[in-house]
């Protein structure tokens, strides 16, 4: 996890808020550093994490995770991490006979209406186990990324329903957190992605939006991060809820600075 990002969000693994949905979105840049941040953040917070990883392989996340101080293999063996490796298990749908529907069952069906099997996988993974002692603090669902479901043929409303049910179970019932990555293609013609992005935005409590710089690629400033807080439990009189920072990604950390204040420029 990136300590500077924790400072910006005013949170630490020990005292993170529960029951919140965080939306990560990226436009014209790669926002996956945010996924790695939250994965290591919640593993360090001793949460039970269900990671629906549709975009990259397990070893990719593991390698990056080791740079950030978490070992995904160990976490998976301990039972702290439930990892759905989309790239591998998509093939399993076709080559293994399963009794219950596979989480990615929709790949097999011509007219898959909903993502109910995927939701049931998540619910099963995060349901509290009565083993006497509470091993993990609270459950967390991480999805990287939701736009892949659109590319695989699901409709935006089906994906939104999946998020809705996950929110009802993970955030409300189990008082856990959710972190969802949605790409913003910026493509005017991709209406389904826009509906998906806006629909999840309306459901989220915190939106982190990584954007490429409008002027193009820069060696010292890799992009801009917009932080938007929504849905406070109590309405505040002054709603100063949006912050913007620029960032530079380094090997093991990300440094944030105010706009125009990159150390390379000063």
């Amino acid at each position: 996890m990136f300590v500077e990002l924790n400072n910006l969000l005013n949170t630490t693994p020990d005292r993170a808020e529960q029951g919140k949905l965080t939306l990560l979105c990226d436009a014209k840049t790669d926002g996956s550093f945010l996924v790695h941040h939250f994965l290591s953040f919640y593993l360090k917070a001793n949460c039970k994490v269900c990671f629906v990883a549709l975009f990259q392989s397990f070893s990719h996340y593991n390698i990056v995770g080791q740079k950030l101080g978490v070992n995904l293999t160990v976490a998976r063996e301990r039972g702290q991490l439930v990892f759905l490796e989309g790239l591998k298990s998509a093939v399993d749908v076709f080559f293994q006979t399963q009794e219950e529907p596979h989480p990615l069952q929709f790949l097999r069906e011509a007219n898959a209406g909903n993502l109910k099997p995927l939701f049931e996988f998540v619910r099963e993974a995060l349901k509290p186990v009565d083993s006497g002692e509470a091993r993990w603090t609270y459950p967390v669902l991480l999805v990287d990324d939701l736009s892949v479901l659109l590319s695989l043929g699901m409709g935006a409303v089906a994906a939104l329903d999946f998020i809705h049910y996950c929110r009802a179970t993970v955030c409300w019932e189990l008082k856990g957190n959710m972190v969802i990555l949605v790409h913003d293609s910026g493509d005017v013609e991709d209406e389904e992605n826009d509906i998906l992005l806006n629909g999840v935005s309306h459901q989220s409590h915190l939106i982190l939006r990584a954007e490429g710089l409008a002027t193009g690629f820069c060696r010292d400033v890799h992009g801009q991060l917009r932080i938007l807080w929504r849905r406070p439990s109590q309405p505040t009189a002054q709603r100063d809820q949006s912050l913007t920072y620029q960032y530079k990604i380094q090997d093991r950390s990300v440094s944030f600075f105010a706009k125009g204040m990159s150390p390379a420029v000063l």
Binding site: D161, A168, W172, R230, R231
Partner: protein, 316 residues
């Protein structure tokens, strides 16, 4: 200077437009966006209805009952009836708990009530309904609900029905939004600048011109509405009332002003390409004594000179 009675009453009416949204009845559309969310305003209006003694039904599809009721005190919560479509709206858990008929069935059931008091129905959210139901079905149901009190031939007098619908603008195309707008008696669009929220209220009353007004407001922690005059002065850091505005046309080295004679000459000038009748006459009949111009032409070897005047057949 004192204001006349009528003017003062007018201003009172203006400030109270947000307050009196519910008194008009019918469908009130709350259009919000990601940046300016509308659920707080919805809850504030729900609280206002409850305080007026109305019964309030909430079709909750987007947030849990706990979250919706949070911030209300118990006497308001007693007047709220929450129909829960959050936990299992699509009946994925296959239990028998699902409310029959879905949200529209619940809506119709609310309207078939026997007591004649006024009720308020809050749809949280209309966007959820629009994404999951055909637009035509939804519009027909909304029309039936909000026009219930004007239904003729019904012996039992039914009280006024107000429907508050929360609509997330970015999720829908112009067609469905337009259909809902035409059904609505009042449309409130949320916006704002620099931390100060505003509501643009467009009100369509039957047989009257639509009125619109922008009202700045904020919602207090107990969900009561605080109407404000405009963005607060602290949010404009660059305006300083002690420095008078400077006139940039003083102390110039050139003259920007015209004297009276110059102005008259300028006004009476005919522009070169403006074709007036005097100009036409001057061109067609050159006045005698005017120096005519001569053209001296040395024909080339290859030139084909024709002594006839090609304009001879023109009748001018």
């Amino acid at each position: 200077v004192t204001l006349s009675e009528g003017a003062r009453a007018g201003i009172g009416r203006e400030l109270g437009m947000l307050d009196s949204l519910l008194s008009l009845g019918g469908l009130v559309l709350l259009r919000d966006s990601v940046e300016w969310e509308g659920r707080s305003l919805l809850k504030a209006l729900v609280k206002k209805s409850a305080l007026c003694g109305e019964q309030v039904h909430i079709l909750g599809c987007e947030v849990s009952e706990e979250e919706f009721r949070e911030g209300f005190d118990s006497d308001i919560n007693n007047r709220l009836v929450y129909h829960d479509f959050f936990r299992d709206p699509l009946n994925w858990s296959k239990t028998e708990e699902a409310l029959p008929g879905g949200p529209l069935g619940a809506l119709r059931a609310i309207c078939k009530r026997t007591d004649p008091g006024p009720i308020t129905i809050a749809l949280d959210s209309l966007s959820w309904l629009l994404l999951h139901l055909p637009c035509t079905t939804l519009c027909q149901a909304l029309h039936a609900v909000s026009h219930q009190d004007s239904c003729p031939g019904d012996s039992s007098p039914v009280g006024k029905v107000s429907v508050l619908g929360l609509l997330h603008e970015e999720l829908h195309g112009p067609g469905p939004v337009g259909a809902l707008t035409s059904l609505a008696q009042t449309e409130v669009t949320l916006g704002g600048t620099k931390g100060q929220a505003s509501a643009h209220i467009l009100c369509r009353r039957p047989r009257q011109r639509p009125t619109d007004q922008t009202q700045w407001f904020s919602i207090l922690p107990d969900f009561s509405l605080d109407l404000q005059e405009g963005p607060s002065v602290e949010s404009q850091p660059y305006s300083n009332p002690h420095i008078p505005p400077v006139d940039p046309t003083t102390h110039l080295t050139f003259n920007l002003h015209l004297s009276k004679k110059e102005r008259e000459a300028k006004d009476s000038l005919i522009l070169p390409f403006q074709f007036s009748s005097e100009k036409q006459q001057a061109l067609l009949r050159p006045r005698p004594g005017q120096a005519t111009s001569h053209i001296f032409y040395e024909p080339d070897v290859y030139d084909d000179l024709d002594q006839e005047d090609p304009d001879d057949d023109l009748d001018i």
